[in-house]
Amino acid sequence: MRRSRIQIGPSGLLYLVIATLILGAAIYTQANLLFWSFGLMIGGLLLSIFIALGALRKVTVTRLPPGHGVAGEPLALRYQLTNGRRFWPTFNLIIRETWGKNRRQARRVSPVAQQQLTGQPTGWILHLAPGQTAMAEAICWPTRRGMLAFECIEVTTSFPFGVLKRKIRVQQQDEVLIYPHLYRMNRRLMFQLSEFDMAGRQHMDRGGGYEEFFGLRPYRSGDRLKMIDWKHTARFGEMVSREYTQPTPPRIMIVLDLTPKPASKLQVDAVTKPTRRWWSLRKSGVMQRGWSPHPTDGVERAVSLAASLVCDAYFYGYKIGMVVKGGNCQPVPTHHSLPHRTKMLESLSTVHRDDTRHEAQAFSKSATVVIQLGEAADTPSPNGCVTLSAAQLERYIRENESVSEELLSTQTVSESRRAEVHRVSREADEQQGIQQARAKEETLA
């Protein structure tokens, strides 16, 4: 559905006032130059009406929404505008998102009103040539995870003099899934999680890799020459190839526990009033504006922690799975792939607390990380599980690094890079230990 409208704005009123002033002066003084100037103003007005009437004719607009967005990060909405006319170009097009039938309704139902967005997405096209298509981009900043609905596109132009504003509204409903706030996880934590394997194995009991000897098998066409076991080949009289084991990547099973816990002082502080540390994070931009104090912030923080863990785990090549306790989310087995990560993030985007679902899941027995709402120790539990507290989110993230494209990229780090990260983390630990020891010695001295 397409609706068009012509409005007169404040600049148009100013234009009319000046034209009236010139007419008055011309009549009062009978100065011909003023009559000519008045004619120019009238010409401008008539042309404005003429151009406004035909400005957006045959101009079509289509929204091209992105697949997803991230809360607190810029979300680029793209619009494809086509000028179907043959000769007349269009200038100064402003593209806006609107909701509801009118402004009053928009104030109530728009995502801006519901604090899902910090402002109306607005794009700009300076020139749209006849018969050509241009892409406009409107940046918006979603503040909360979940489904962000778009309803109507409004295209406005006030070319040439700003006297009249021509506006069209095109209905096009789209939805964009907004992922939770994502942070870069602390390297040390990731290293800690990567070293943890309940079985203590480093390699899979499966051939096809290049790690350790696994067995022999008949030669298959395409096997590399260096894989041929020449001794056994000579012994058996037929070609025999060696098989090696595959490495076992670290495996992380997250249990996101959304069941309410007795509130500790730290949790209460984190939820009700921003601590100094929290404030400094907001100021540094790691935790962006829009994260307003909210009763369910504990859940949001836990979900953000889980989502950040999922992204970093994918980045470092770990297998990861997830179980949500007390939430409306199906368990996800451990796996490492891009669709798997996307599936988990989508689940986390829409998860909300469900007090009726407290039953223990089968996957939770193999949990390696438990994320709780309340306060918890980060030391491994007797069954080897690490417990992370949502209230202490700041401890697990890198403060000086905001979410980059790298976090959601489809690339993963190489094995050597992963080893490098581990080495750096280990050295950092050692360095920290040395410093602590020195500090202790100095204190004693």
């Binding site: 120019l40 009238i42 042309l47 402003i94 209905q171 096009q172 829009g290």
Partner: protein, 769 residues
């Protein structure tokens, strides 16, 4: 396209043009000092506020400057007694310059543009010169581009501000880069040119059509502006400032039919015969005014008679700005005619021409004058005779004595004895005739011409020409000039000669007019400017009639009125010619001209429609003759009317069919196919349109942007059972539209069933509802 970069420069250029235009327009002859100061300040503002490393002045300093500008406005209006409009223009100019030095956002830029526009409105009231018109045109062109770019800049700024308000890290948000398509630069220029041209055309139409009033503006806003610009006056006040020679404003053109080989011509305006000693002014006697006669100019009016075989010169005067209703002519004249005036007033005693036409109107009139200024040709100039028109004759040539005007232009009351004695002494010394005397009661003496020549030469040689005015508070300025000062301007020379000749009994009068000496080679005419105003004397020499004597030193006058001829004289002539055309066509456009233009346009249209030889006239005539040619009666008319109605219905149906067809093609997504494919598929897919129509009747409209599949899926999600036929029909639609399946009988049967099923389900649900 760097919008902000260009916009800032355009605003600066626009303000500069506005300041230059106003300084040139400021009365009386522009204000170069103000131009120097304001222009320098304006140029400096660029380096101070906008240049590399520039920093705007703090706001408190700008506010202080604004207060100073307000104080200056008070000084302008109260102490310097400038007209209100000039004071307001000064005020707006200073405010603009102050704003240029300050920190500028869109609001400040808008303020600067509005102030500049107000200043130009004021300047348009003050000046009508072509130079100002050119500057106004350039200002309008620059203003057009500035306003267009201002649109872009404000939009860019608004979007930037909006994004910064919304962004989580406002500092990281940069200015939006303009999205443009191929060829944006030349398309923008073409659109701007189109907009400018259309505005100009509409402006010209408005200019021609907007009604004018014939009343000349005389209001306090511009009070005092016109008076200071005038060189010629029909009342010579010897205590006032002398005629200005600096005013270069063109007044009239004088075209002569033959080359006179004369360097200059004296164009007489007013003949001033009465001296008021109290006000020290020369004016025209009231009894002379009453003898003005109105001459109809429907045909050339004869006011004198040439001798048989006498050579004559035809002159054409194009006069503008005739605020004193005086028409200027050479002396004497024998015939007057005009294409633009219906009548003139002519006085046979002082040969003065005047007109009651609108002062803004450009007047073109012709007059005929003898090639040699011999007095016998103009007996009507003698006050002893009265011009009458005998019955049956065209000319004015019957003269008779009239004792009533015996005293016309005679006698002198101010220190008459001293002046007469002084004059006679001059004559005696010059002619070396110690016994020379003249009876003051004698109207005419045989040696009057000789004596007048002697006095003229005496003044030319012994006195100094000066434009400095010395107001004499006690003694009469003429006596003071003759006795003690010995220097003065042309009015004093003319007055002195008149007073001297009158003191010894001669008849003399002061003539105010113009001295035409600037010849324009391009237009082949003499161009007369306000600064060419001059005064001289006419003395009655008995049988020789009234003779012209110019007592002002001729070299000095020629030097004062001379136009500097140099390598640029050609350009100057061209400019002068264009300026007069500008004034003739543009400045002088008033109510009467408008009426004439409109009536001429009406006449042209009427002429074109009635002239059978012209194209339009031929068409009109053809339609006019249609009835006769076809010999149409009432029945034929009826048939024709019915045919016409059917044609209209047919055309309307055709348009409607085209629109409907276009809508159908859009609904079926067939717009991008070739015509044969489109037609073939449109016939096969009619069922889908039927389905949409059916759904539409029950309030289920498919949005234009939604695909058929998406529409069907959405409907089925709401009620699968109800809209199951829609899914089936959509499937058929896709198979035919994109799968290239044939629409065979079985498929058509299935489609019909589905449609029927859909109608039933929809109707059933409606009944339930």
């Amino acid at each position: 396209m760097n919008v902000v970069f260009m916009f800032r420069r355009l605003v600066f250029v626009q303000v500069m043009i506005g300041i230059v235009a106003f300084c040139l327009a400021e009365p009386p002859h522009g204000n170069p000092a103000l131009l120097l100061v304001a222009g320098t300040l304006c140029v400096l503002s660029w380096y101070v506020a906008e240049g590399p490393g520039g920093k705007p002045l703090p706001q408190w300093l700008i506010n202080l400057g604004a207060m100073a500008a307000i104080a200056w406005l008070g000084v302008d209006l109260i102490f310097r007694r400038h007209p209100i409009i000039v004071g307001m223009c000064h005020f707006t100019m200073w405010l603009q310059i102050l704003q240029l030095y300050g920190h500028k956002k869109n609001r400040e830029y808008g303020l600067i543009l509005v102030l500049s526009m107000l200043q130009m409105i004021g300047a348009s009231i003050l000046s009508v010169t072509m130079l100002f018109g050119i500057l106004l045109f350039v200002y309008s062109v620059v203003g057009l581009f500035t306003v267009l770019l201002f649109q872009f800049k404000t939009t860019s700024d608004d979007i930037l501000a909006h994004r910064r308000r919304s962004a989580t890290r406002p500092s990281s948000v940069s200015r939006p880069k303009p999205v443009v398509c191929r060829g944006h630069r030349w398309q923008f220029r073409m659109v701007a040119m189109f907009v400018g041209s259309m505005c100009a055309i509409i402006a010209v139409a408005c200019f021609v059509l907007v009604p004018r009033t014939s009343r000349f503006a005389d209001n306090p806003l511009i009070a005092g502006i016109g008076a200071s610009q005038i060189g010629y006056t029909n009342r010579v006040n010897l205590n006032a400032a002398p005629p200005t020679i600096d005013n270069r404003e063109p007044v009239l053109h004088l075209e002569l039919s033959s080359d006179q080989n004369e360097s200059h011509h004296l164009l007489r305006g007013s003949a001033l015969d009465f001296y008021d000693a109290a006000s020290r002014s020369w004016m025209r006697g009231p009894e002379i005014d009453r003898l003005d006669r109105t001459l109809s100019l429907d045909e050339p009016a004869n006011v004198g008679q040439l001798r048989r075989g006498e050579a004559y010169v035809d002159a054409t005067v194009t006069l503008r700005n005739n605020h004193r209703r005086t028409l200027f002519s050479l002396c004497p004249i024998v015939q007057v005619s005009s294409p633009s005036l219906h009548s003139v007033k002519f006085n046979p005693f002082d040969q003065q021409l005047s007109s009651d036409a609108s002062p803004n109107k450009v007047m073109v009139y012709h007059f005929r004058t003898p090639a040699r200024h011999t007095l016998r040709i103009a007996p009507a100039m003698s006050p002893r005779v009265v011009l009458r028109q005998p019955r049956g004759e065209d000319g004015w040539r019957l003269f008779s004595r009239n004792q009533k005007f015996f005293t016309y232009a005679r006698g002198w009351d101010v220190e008459r004895e001293w002046l007469a004695k002084h004059t006679l002494n001059i004559l005696r010394d010059a002619l070396k005739e110690p016994d020379l005397t003249r009876d003051p009661a004698t109207v005419y003496h045989a040696r009057d011409y000789e004596w007048a020549k002697v006095l003229e030469q005496y003044l030319q040689t012994k006195f100094t020409y000066s434009l400095t005015n010395f107001p004499s508070h006690g003694r009469d300025p003429i006596i003071d000039f003759l006795d003690t000062r010995g220097e003065g301007h042309c009015e004093l020379f003319a007055s002195a000669l008149t007073a001297m000749t009158r003191s010894i009994g001669m008849r003399a009068r002061v003539i105010a007019g113009y001295r035409a000496s600037e010849y324009n080679a391009i237009g082949d005419y003499f161009l007369v400017r306000e600064g060419n105003a001059h005064a001289w004397t006419e003395i009655d020499c008995g049988p020789m009639g009234w003779q012209t004597f110019d007592a002002t030193p001729p070299e000095d006058v020629a030097a004062a009125h001379a136009a500097n001829r140099s390598w640029a004289s050609g350009l100057s002539d061209l400019y002068g010619h264009l300026e007069f055309l500008w004034i003739d066509t543009f400045v002088a456009y008033d109510k009467e001209t408008r009426d004439e233009v409109l009536s001429s346009i009406g006449d042209s249209i009427r002429g074109a429609t009635t002239d059978r030889d012209s194209f339009i006239g031929g068409i009109v005539a053809w339609f006019g003759d249609l009835i006769e040619r076809w010999r149409m009666n009432q029945f034929s008319f009826s048939i024709m009317a019915i045919t016409f109605v059917f044609i209209c219905i047919g055309v309307g149906s055709l348009i409607r069919m085209t629109i409907v067809r276009r809508k159908r093609m859009t609904a079926l997504q067939l717009t991008k196919l070739s015509r044969p494919q489109r037609n073939r598929l449109a016939r096969r897919l009619t069922f889908y349109l039927d389905m949409l129509e059916l759904l539409g009747r029950y309030g289920y409209d498919r949005p234009q942007w939604q695909s058929p599949f998406s529409f069907a899926t959405d409907l089925s999600k709401t009620d699968l059972e109800k809209f199951e036929p829609v899914l089936g029909l959509t499937e058929h639609f896709y198979e035919i539209r994109f799968g290239h399946r044939e629409s065979d009988a079985a498929r058509q049967q299935r489609i019909r069933e589905l449609l029927k099923q859909l109608e039933q389900t929809l109707a059933g649900r409606k009944d339930v509802a």
